[in-house]
């Protein structure tokens, strides 16, 4: 039983409060649930992430580890207390100015940690700032902007917005930035009706097991406060779900057998204390654990147990691409390089665990959840409830990071089942360990590749074979299997290619979508091979790449001719001075340093924007109401990457009005059209183009109503549109016009589906309408005795087509670099063993180096004002560049990601043994 409540008094943000609470309750829970101060976030409940940082008597503490009984008589400061009278504090303004908040989930914790420092040290050094922020994890920003903000706290904030026609290209501050800085932003766990029931999922404790369930009715009867125990016998609709229209293989709730630790078995619904007080061991479940199949080697072994009976050999699916004659070309090549690599499971580690609430409204289901894919969620929820898609409404909350991990269903399942059957509002927030055990991961890859070139350094052939551990269920495994063969050459002309992939089923958590869909893993192989070939040819690695990169009119491995927006060579050219200078500097440094060795590596990347050779449409709408309010119905999920700002910028210039008069309604499947999912670096390109088309449609309607020419200027004032064309001026009176259900009198609509051609059996076709290109240089310092790698600096150059918002692009690149650095050096999820953020390591503020970015604009005619994607592009080259730098520094080739100190040391020792 829990501890009896006590009356406790303390002050919060200067005001006295009294609570009636168990003294053992975590302070953060009291702040959030009793006092309604949801600005303080919960990321782990274990002191590993710092999202809940508040000041207790002026000192930063994790509010998840402070028993409220210890707060009696003391003073608590939270993010809500930072500003005064609705205005941002100077610290918050500095965060806003520097783009230091992306998704915003870590921001309150960062602000409070910084506050403690600035209270004692108003002008801190960079080292002091890092030390102060070291206990708060951020997964979006790469930290550098946060440190910049803390060091620039005296700066003034310029909030002027661009004039009509000048929004695209402006470094506009985040339109939704302020609520993220004040704590007002409402994430998945932040709001629910006061009378909501709580639910909790009982999950498989073993990697692979049979189970039987006893008398749940009796169990429920023995637990007053428990409203329902939902099992697979209670499913109203489909028994299986999955992200693809076909091949659904994920049980809504398991039936007698579980395929990975963390798989959902039962849903407990009741009051919070009751649901939390029940231990899994108390439940009448009889488990018979079986030996789990972990790793592709075990899964592919002769006689391995089948993860799914209908998937022989544990092969879920495969991908294949063939062009030219790779065997002949390799035989004829002057130089050949080959090697094998492996990578590890990578956890998304968004700081916001999955959360949300739901209620049944008549015969409709309404869900407020953190998600990257509201329309996909809608369709899947409809299926598992057995109701029409139109009868499900998904209202996304703010999303505290996604990176691909919030595309799949998670809390939707228990929420839908519970709210539907009980007809009461229900809420849930996953704890970090269950989030990590149950959510999707980046595929570990086991890869072998061979590349060949001529004596003058022209690439002639690449052969790539990759087995990708796709875990227990499909998720996005097929996407990875398809995408990797297309991209495995990297952005180079390679006339002879043979790439093969397999998605292999195991008893690990499902591997799914994660920033890059397998491409970062594959690029580690090809980029290392190209370094080796360059060496064999006696060419500088950058020059070798310049010789081979794809250019305008070049043909890809799928036979696609790239006519437009191929700024790959420019990315290399712009970084060449830094490359030459730092390579020489590393050599000079190493001459005088025996233990510490520096190296500089480079990697190029390309990445197709959108789905692979299948339809991928987005629809956007923009309306004007009778009183002259402009509303963008923005169905693009902003998961921190910025479409809440980017889409209005595009929309404003398409209409020809200032961006600051555009209001927005965000992704609500009842109110916004389907803008697809926030994945595959498609939103700026696809939904951005749809937005441009919607804006142009509205503009055309206005010009037609005014009967003026295309160059007319539009001014929207209350109740009217004033249109000026040369000396002529016309006024459209909006007040008398007929309104639609949303109150709009004019509505512009735009739909864009990028033109692609499905891949044939040899992987030939036009899988993507456009590609993002880029390159990164990494400079590292390796401690050769310890095997530690410090990344000193990253240079990153990207062809983004058109930089819609240079500040947000910079933010995306920084965040991608940080995640790529994590993949390269420290991130390794081991099923059943690293289900928390202290055994699973992501980079901290001290691990991410300064990042210098270069934006190249080679316009994509299909993109909005020439723009294309950056989200995944930003991460892809980082690991390969770091591995190249380690090799340059030490001569050691890293074959196993992450390159932990132990692995780096072993690789260095191996080079010395010849």
């Amino acid at each position: 039983m829990n501890v009896m409540n006590q009356s406790l008094s303390f002050t919060v943000n200067g005001a006295p409060v009294s609570v009636h609470s168990s003294p053992v309750t975590r302070l953060v829970e009291v702040l959030r649930l009793e006092l309604g101060l949801t600005g303080t976030k919960v990321g782990c409940n274990a002191g590993d992430c710092g999202a809940c940082t508040v000041l207790l008597d002026g000192r930063q503490v994790c509010a998840c580890m402070v028993p409220v009984g210890q707060v009696q008589g003391r003073d608590v400061q939270t993010v809500e207390g930072l500003g005064a009278d609705g205005a941002l504090s100077t610290l918050q303004q500095a965060f806003h100015k520097h783009g230091a908040a992306q998704c915003g989930i870590c921001t309150p914790g960062m602000l409070m940690a910084a506050r403690e420092l600035l209270d004692s040290t108003p002008v801190p050094t960079e080292q002091q700032a890092m030390d102060a922020l070291g206990g708060v994890l951020c997964r979006c920003t790469g930290y550098r902007k946060i440190v910049d903000a803390v060091l620039d706290v005296a700066a003034t904030l310029d909030e002027t917005t661009p004039d009509a026609g000048a929004a695209v290209g402006a470094p506009l501050l985040k339109i939704d930035g302020k609520p993220k800085l004040t704590g007002e932003e409402s994430f998945g766990a932040d709001a629910a009706p006061a009378d909501s029931l709580w639910c909790r999922v009982v999950r498989a404790p073993h990697g692979r097991a049979n189970f039987t369930v006893g008398d749940l009715e009796a169990f429920k009867a023995g637990h007053p406060g428990l409203e329902a125990v939902i099992s697979n016998k209670d499913l109203p609709g489909a028994k299986l779900h999955g992200v693809y229209p076909v091949g659904k293989d994920t049980p809504v709730l398991a039936t007698g057998f579980t395929r990975h630790k963390g798989e959902g078995v039962l849903v407990l619904v009741g009051d919070k204390l009751t649901v939390e007080s029940i231990r899994d061991d108390d439940l009448p479940i009889d488990w018979s654990p079986l030996e789990p199949v972990y790793g592709v080697e075990a899964a592919l072994a002769e006689g391995a147990p089948l993860v799914h009976d209908d998937k022989p050999g544990n092969i879920l699916t495969g991908g294949f691409l063939q062009k030219g004659d790779v065997d002949a070309a390799l035989a004829a090549a002057d130089h050949v390089a080959e090697g094998s690599w492996q990578t590890s499971f990578v956890e998304h580690a968004y700081i916001e665990p999955e959360a949300g609430w739901a209620q049944r409204v008549g015969d409709r289901m309404e869900m407020h959840v953190t998600t990257q894919a509201p329309y996909m969620n809608r369709d899947e929820v409809a299926a598992i409830l057995g109701i029409a898609q139109e009868d499900v409404r998904i209202v996304p909350t703010a999303v505290g990071g996604g990176f691909g991990g919030k595309l799949d269903m998670s809390v939707h399942v228990p929420l839908a089942l519970a709210a539907w059957s009980l007809d009461r509002p229900v809420r849930i927030t996953l704890e970090r360990p269950e989030s990590m055990a149950s959510s999707t991961k980046r595929h570990p890859a086991r890869m072998t590749a061979t590349a060949g070139c001529s004596s003058d350094g022209k690439l002639t052939a690449l052969r790539f074979d990759g087995d990708f551990d796709t875990g227990a269920y499909s998720s996005w495994g097929p996407t990875v299997a398809d995408r990797v063969p297309v991209h495995a050459t990297g952005p180079y002309i390679v006339p002879n290619v043979r790439n093969r992939t397999q998605a292999v089923l195991t008893n690990a958590p499902p591997a799914g979508a994660f920033r890059g869909f397998g491409v970062p893993q594959a690029s580690i192989t090809s980029e290392a091979l190209y370094d080796e070939l360059a060496e064999k040819c006696g060419l500088d690695p950058l020059e070798f790449r310049l010789l081979n990169v794809i250019r305008h009119g070049g043909e890809t491995a799928t036979g696609q001719i790239l006519e437009h927006s191929v700024g790959m060579a420019e990315c290399l050219e712009v970084m060449k001075p830094a490359w030459v200078e730092r390579r020489a500097a590393a050599t000079a440094f190493n001459e005088n340093s025996a233990v510490l060795k520096r190296g500089v590596g480079i990697s190029c990347m390309w990445y197709g924007c959108g789905n692979t050779g299948i339809p991928n449409p987005s629809t956007m709408k923009v309306g004007i109401s009778a009183d002259g309010k402009v509303t963008l119905y923005n169905g693009v999920m902003d998961i921190g990457q910025g479409p809440n700002t980017i889409m209005p910028q595009i929309c404003a210039d398409a209409i020809g009005i200032p961006v600051n008069i555009i209001g927005q309604i965000h992704g609500d499947t009842d109110l916004t059209a389907d803008a697809g999912k926030s994945s595959a670096s498609r939103q700026t390109f696809v939904s951005g183009r749809a937005t441009q088309l919607a804006g142009e449609d509205l503009r055309t309607q206005i010009l037609r109503l005014a009967n003026v020419g295309d160059d007319a200027r539009i001014e929207i004032v209350p109740g009217e549109i004033v249109v000026r064309d040369g000396d002529a001026q016309r006024t459209i009176d909006l007040r008398g016009m007929a309104t639609d259900p949303n109150g709009d009198v004019l509505l512009g609509t735009g739909t864009f589906d990028p033109p692609t051609v499905a891949l044939d059996e040899n992987g030939q076709g036009i899988p993507y309408a456009t590609y993002g290109f880029g390159a990164q240089i990494a400079e590292v310092e390796v401690d050769t005795e310890l095997g530690t790698v410090k990344v000193l600096k990253i240079w990153a150059a990207y062809d983004v087509g058109r930089a819609v918002n240079p500040m947000q692009l910079d933010g995306q690149i920084h965040g991608g670099v940080a995640q790529g650095l994590g993949l390269a050096l420290m991130e390794e999820y081991i099923p059943e063993r690293t289900e928390n953020l202290h055994d699973y390591l992501i980079p901290t503020v001290g691990d991410v180096p300064p990042i210098e970015t270069f934006l190249i604009e080679d316009p994509e005619p299909l993109g909005p004002f020439g723009a294309k994607g950056i989200g995944e592009q930003s991460l892809i080259p980082t690991p390969a560049a770091i591995f190249g730098a380690i090799h340059h520094a030490t001569g050691a080739r890293m074959r196993h990601a992450p390159a932990t100190p132990a692995r780096v040391r072993a690789a260095i020792l191996a080079t010395r043994q010849g």
């Binding site: 829990n2 503490v61 580890m65 009984g69 210890q70 070291g134 007080s277 932990t900």
Partner: protein, 288 residues
């Protein structure tokens, strides 16, 4: 109904402990992480309200560090260079949030093989003071931490203080922690060193290694080998893995193999000694 008591006196706390076994709560930085998603239904004795348990005092023959003294208290205390190693360790315990509430005593009682406090306190020859129904007793730290999550504390005892004996005024100390990232990291290996100089040479040396055995260990062979060595940058450069064999017994885990731990533990010992010999404290020169 579980109970939560937060007494204001030691006598009261000991009486409560004598009555029934209680889980002792101080900074909460080990208690809460062990109960994520689990009920908070232990019978708890919160010792943070007890008068006189917090703070560092110089008693003439040595220092007393009260049980609820936090890592930040150590960092901010005015202490001689003998404590530099402990202060360096304090800065590496979690993030500042954890340093602000986490206690040295809790770190010892939690008895993790990777406890950041144990190597520096071993090198300081720390003793723990345990109060129980029959009065107080003192134990050398090495006899207190018995194994992974295992200590010599009896259920009715409370660890009330640490005692650090005086050392030579010119004693110096250091601490090096190796992890796979910069902040918030569990160490792969760590080394703490205290040296008392004598005539430009090592009068005595105390060296401890953590995260390389179930309990952090002193290295008697190394300490013996150092005695009388000149106190300069060459100090310790003759130390090899052989000097560590027998003292430590690292395991292989997600953070590194046993071989790797032997290897880097020897490197860290050499570096810490070399840096102290050269008049510095030594730093891992990379971020990790």
């Amino acid at each position: 109904m579980a109970q939560y008591v937060r007494p204001e006196s030691l006598e009261e706390a000991l009486a409560l402990l004598a009555d029934a076994p209680l889980t002792i709560l101080a900074g909460g930085t080990d208690y809460y992480p062990a109960r994520v998603g689990k009920p908070l239904d232990d019978d708890l004795l919160d010792i943070t309200g007890i008068d006189g348990l917090r703070g560092i005092s110089d008693g003439g023959d040595g220092w007393r560090i009260g049980a609820t003294t936090t890592w930040t208290d150590v960092i901010e205390a005015d202490l001689p260079p003998l404590f530099d190693g402990l202060k360096l360790a304090a800065r590496e315990v979690g993030g500042v949030q954890i340093q602000n509430v986490g206690t040295l005593a809790g770190n010892l009682c939690n008895a993790s093989p990777a406890a950041d406090g144990v190597p520096p306190l071993l090198s300081l020859d720390a003793e723990v003071e345990l109060a129980g129904p029959d009065g107080a007793r003192r134990l050398p730290l090495g006899e207190f931490v018995l194994g992974n999550r295992e200590t010599a504390r009896q259920a009715d005892e409370l660890l009330t203080a640490l005692h650090i004996p005086k050392a030579a005024d010119d004693a110096v100390s250091s601490f090096l922690k190796l992890g796979a990232r910069k902040y918030l990291v569990i160490s792969i290996a760590m080394v703490a060193v205290v040296i008392e100089p004598a005539d430009g040479a090592v009068g005595s040396a105390r060296v401890a290694v953590g995260s390389c055995s179930a309990v952090a260990q002193r290295l008697p062979d190394v300490e013996a080998a150092l005695k009388g060595q000149p106190l300069d940058a060459s100090l310790g450069q003759q130390i090899t893995q052989d000097h560590l064999t027998g003292a430590i017994s690292p395991i292989s885990d997600v953070r590194g193999s046993a071989d790797y731990r032997f290897d880097v533990a020897a490197t860290l010992v050499r570096r810490a000694l070399g840096a102290l010999g050269a008049g510095g404290q030594g730093q891992l020169e990379t971020a990790a």
